[in-house]
Amino acid sequence: MFPVLAFLVGLPVLAAIAIVLIPKSRSELLLPVAFGLSLLPLAVAGYMVWTFDTAGGFQWVESIIWMERLRIGWTVGVDGISLFLVALTAFLFPISILASAKISDRLRGYLVSLFILETGVLGVFIALDLVLFFVFFEIVLIPMFFMIGIWGSSNRKYAAIKFFVYTAFGSAFLLASIIALAVNAGPVLQTVSFQWNDLAQVPMTSAAQTWLFFGFAIAFAIKVPLFPLHTWLPDAHTEAPTAGSVLLAGVLLKMGTYGFIRFNLTLFPEATVKYGKWLALVAVIGIVYAALVATVQPDIKRLVAYSSVSHLGFIVLGTFALTLSSVQGGLIQMVNHGLSTGALFLLIGMIYERTHTRKIADYGGLASTMPIFSGFFLLAVFASIGLPGLNGFIGEFMVLIGSWQTFPVLTVVAASGVVLSAIYVLWAYERVFTGPPGKANKDLEDLNSREIAILVPIAVLIVFLGVYPKPVLDRMENDVNAVISRIEQSTNYERPTFDLEGRLTVDVGVPEQGESPSGEGSE
């Protein structure tokens, strides 16, 4: 079988090499070539989405053990949980490259960083070997560090170092936990193994689960980021170049939420059931707190950054609520947040190129001078606050409806985020776009065709996923079900049932929640 995933991850590396090989005298070719090459992984990802078997399970699995004694190797695969994160990654990179047309300083290095970043992110989402996962997890740090540190704005060094140290701090916990996990499972497996498949079958004592659960959780919580570990994000976002912000919000943060589902939920079911509520609590605090903080931010990029923290809280809440709808909602919210927040950062980048300011107070009345821009902005803004018909609603709605049964109080508090998000977003929109245009903003040019071309694909997806999310949800459903079923099998946790279940006289029309439809759940 053709190694699709190796090909997918290898393509950006090849692209980076190709970029290096372009002679200095032909540097005008850099961007077009990079853009063209970045479409290749997208094509592969598109093929994967198209041919993905909705029955679920890992597909396109490749497994080559490299160190037999430690069972470390190239083991990769994609299931319904990672499929759309892979697709989102492949989708956002061409867009980021297009959005970088104004970068002139060390463009070659910039593009190489982007491609290495893409390899790292794709690798994180497909790795089924914990060491491999960790390697990719760390690879991502380096290009991002340079993107913020070299191509960022005024306070970039501080932000880059903060970003790096924060995440490296989390990674230390991750590495220690991975090793402890493998060693701990050694006696049962009769060998040390870093294979996800092996480890997922090993029963663990609750003490071990607790320690490892929190070890993984700290690393992922920093990446997500969860309150109170979030302060690197606003700085990183504010200082990063546009593409950096887009990718940071779009895919890098998802590595944390993905990690929660892939590792915490699957490997430590007992601890998940026991301690999930604490993470949900932190997530909900984050939702409200970050929304409040966002309200009064004077810098538009910081505002969006805080809104990210708030939105990601929903994902984590849904993940630990452990119902089909909530986990699935969290998962699709990852994609949706990537699109809508990505679009917002792109838009902010475009206006920054024109005005060279990010201060909300410096804007005003842009809707009259830049109608197309404001139209796109409005779309992205409403997608991000979860307006039905746009993608943001799907995830938020599923998470909230699904989480109520597990965490009623937390969910109510989380739902107040719906109000708060409307407040900060619309207030910012009001200050930036409405009113009479100020002197400085009178002669701004509206978006040119390149910029529109960047935004249209995102806008189309935003609307499409909002109206017809079924293709996406179908591909996720069985694997999400499998994750929850695993937890049910290995702990005394049971999916909440409905108050009136069994007494209803009219069919409810919901797929049976107790069992996974395809029987995928168990081995």
């Binding site: 302060t231 009064v296 089909l324 039905p388 109520w404 409405t434 009479p436 209803l504």
Partner: protein
């Protein structure tokens, strides 16, 4: 059989999308015409689909369009029953008229096509709201009409007040949606489904008056209160008048704001077994009706009078559905849609004719300048004041009669209703007298003129309905009730008391209304115009300072909390801690660099020190000492 009903939504949606992209190219008159034509078309499709309902042979039918959220069992599917049919007809019918009116009213606006984009979007959203067959789709429509409302209120966004009003409307609505959303969570947790058919068919399993159903209905009420601008979330509607007048007529009078009533009527199966919630609904309605009617008296802006009047009338509807008189509530919803749309459009015509003047104290004597507007307004005035046989009389009296008929504490609500009826007659008369009678008080050089045909035609049509629509549900002939029978067949709907009581009650309310009109006549026509100025009137004009109260008690403290969170807790607290840790590490490192003297012999000393220590340790460990 009625699969084609999706066209009703699709046509205006198509219009919205098409006009969004090509509106500018299509240009001024045509984009309006296309927008209007699509809504007219969708009205006629709805009419065809509703024919069986008129014949009484309509079986409620679900039309599945596509699956939406399988995990929640939510589909995009439509429910076509008499209630949704009636709402669809009102929305598309009144909507079509207002579209046509808009082509005249918005003439010359630089963003003329965009206006129709938004209007079409609104119609589509409102139809999703009323046609959806589950709470989820209703919620979708619910939010989407909020979006259209936001876009249309702040249509003239260069005006800071308009932009602020749009934002306020959306946010206040979202507060209501918050309650609605939690209601949905409980519904799903209880029934495992959000679709009407499952929920309502199983509602009887729930304990009557039990905690679950009470919680669900109260939370739904929060949503309804937000959307229908009832107390305490009424503050957004008067500000919403910043939008163009057709918008006020369509969204903030005839259709969107009645969504709350529709929702409660739709959820009748739940509300009818939650007596506490129903009581709350009725009380909220009655208090809002009275409050808004009082405030309306103090308004100088013609549109704000109507805005408060709308709030007040919505209060009546809440009273009705709270009294489990769902048919009466929906009936009043319908008549109100006609006469209030008419009033707004008339007011719009006046404003249009007065070149944007909205202050009634600067009008007067307009009846000769705008005869058509005047006559149609006259009809609406009679209708809202409850003078038989105009539409408002029948619907309002049915509500009052039912409320009275329930006895007990409900009589208090009835009394409030009667007082409100008198106040309504008074402030509407005040509006009419100040605008159309008396001497002209226009600004110099103003030449009021009658509006173009495109504006007067909808006025005339609406006037016909405002006059006659009440006849569909009179004590003599309960057509509407029979029409809606299939919807409420399993629910105990309250009816007016039997015998002569209703006639006496009707007499009382007519008398009160006439009294209101008479007092207004004396105050504003017979004598010299009174001076309505001073702090008390200002207080009244500001709606008893509710806005300011919220500003002081919620907005400002909220902002202070947010600021302390952002600039103290986050920047200094959490980030301070983070940077503190970083700083401490750096200090430690600085201290450690002191050891790095650069003197190679010092390093040597350290090395040998280590060697000695190591050997010592090994020896001790080896048991040498």
């Amino acid at each position: 059989m009625i699969d084609f009903i999706w066209l009703v939504i699709a046509l205006p949606l198509f219009g919205a999308v098409g006009l969004l992209f090509f509106g500018k190219r299509i240009g001024e008159p045509n984009s309006g015409r296309i927008g209007s034509a699509l809504v007219v078309l969708s009205f006629f499709i709805a009419l065809v689909a509703a024919l069986p309902a008129f014949a009484g042979t309509l079986e409620p039918e679900n039309v599945l369009l596509f699956e939406w959220l399988p995990a929640l069992g939510v589909n995009v599917s439509l429910l076509w029953d008499p209630l949704s049919a009636m709402m669809t007809l009102i929305v598309t019918g009144v909507g079509a008229l207002i579209h046509i009116y808009g082509t005249g009213y918005m003439h010359g606006d630089s963003r003329f096509p965009r206006f129709f984009t938004y209007l079409n979007l609104f119609i589509a959203s409102m139809l999703i709201l009323v046609l959806g067959d589950s709470f989820a789709t209703m919620f979708v429509g619910w939010e989407l009409v909020g979006l259209s409302s936001y876009l249309l209120i702040s249509f003239w966004f260069e005006k800071p007040s308009a932009a602020a009003a749009g934002k306020k409307a959306f946010i206040v609505n979202r507060i209501g949606d918050f309650g609605f959303l939690i209601g949905l969570m409980i519904i799903f947790a209880t029934f495992g489904s959000l679709s009407y058919s499952t929920v309502f068919a199983n509602a009887n399993i729930l304990e009557t008056g039990g905690a679950t159903v009470t919680a669900i209905t109260l939370l739904l009420l929060v949503g309804a209160v937000g959307k229908s601008a009832q107390l305490p979330l009424s503050v957004w509607l008067p500000d919403a008048m910043e939008g163009p007048t057709p918008v006020s007529a369509l969204i903030h009078a005839a259709t969107m704001v009645t969504a709350g009533v529709y929702m409660i009527a739709r959820s009748a199966a739940l509300f009818s077994i939650a007596p506490v919630s129903s009581g709350v609904v009725a009380t909220v309605g009655a208090l809002t009706a009275l409050f808004a009617a009082v405030v309306a008296i103090g308004q100088r802006d013609i549109k704000r009078v109507l805005a408060y009047s709308t709030i007040s009338q919505l209060g009546y509807m809440f009273m009705a559905v709270g009294a489990t008189a769902y048919v009466a509530g929906v009936f009043h919803l319908m008549t109100h849609a006609f006469f209030k749309a008419l009033l707004f459009l008339g007011a719009g015509a006046v404003i249009h004719g007065m070149h944007g003047e909205q202050d009634m104290w600067k009008m007067g004597g307009l009846r000769k300048k705008m005869p058509i507007t005047f006559v149609t307004m006259l009809v609406a005035w009679m209708a809202i004041s409850g003078i038989p046989p105009f539409a408002g009389f029948w619907s309002k009296d049915e509500i009052l009669a039912i409320t009275y008929g329930k006895g007990g504490a409900w009589v208090v609500l009835w009394a409030i209703g009667i007082v409100t009826a008198g106040l309504t007659a008074f402030y509407m008369s005040r509006l009419m007298f100040l605008t159309f009678w008396g001497k002209p008080r226009w600004d110099d050089g103003l030449e009021p003129h009658e509006s173009p045909r495109s504006m007067t035609l909808p006025l005339a049509v609406l006037a016909v309905f405002a006059a006659g629509a009440g006849l569909i549900n009179t004590p003599f002939r309960l057509s509407l009730e029979h029409f809606l029978d299939p919807v409420f067949e399993v629910i105990k709907v309250a009816h007016p008391p039997e015998g002569s009581t209703p006639w006496i009650l009707a007499g009382v309310s007519v008398l009160v209304a006439l009294g209101g009109i008479a007092y207004a006549y004396r105050r504003y026509i017979k004598r010299a115009l009174p001076v309505e100025e001073g702090p008390r009137w200002d207080f009244l004009e500001e709606g008893f300072g509710v806005d300011e109260l919220y500003g002081r008690t919620i907005v400002l403290p909220g902002k202070a909390v947010a600021e302390s969170a952002a600039f103290t807790a986050d920047a200094r607290g959490i980030d301070g801690l983070v940077n503190g840790v970083g700083g401490a590490v750096k200090k430690l490192a600085d201290a450690a660099t002191r050891l790095q003297t650069g003197q190679v012999r010092s390093y040597g000393t350290g090395m040998f020190l280590g060697t000695v220590a190591l050997i010592l340790w090994l020896l001790v460990r080896g048991g040498a000492f």
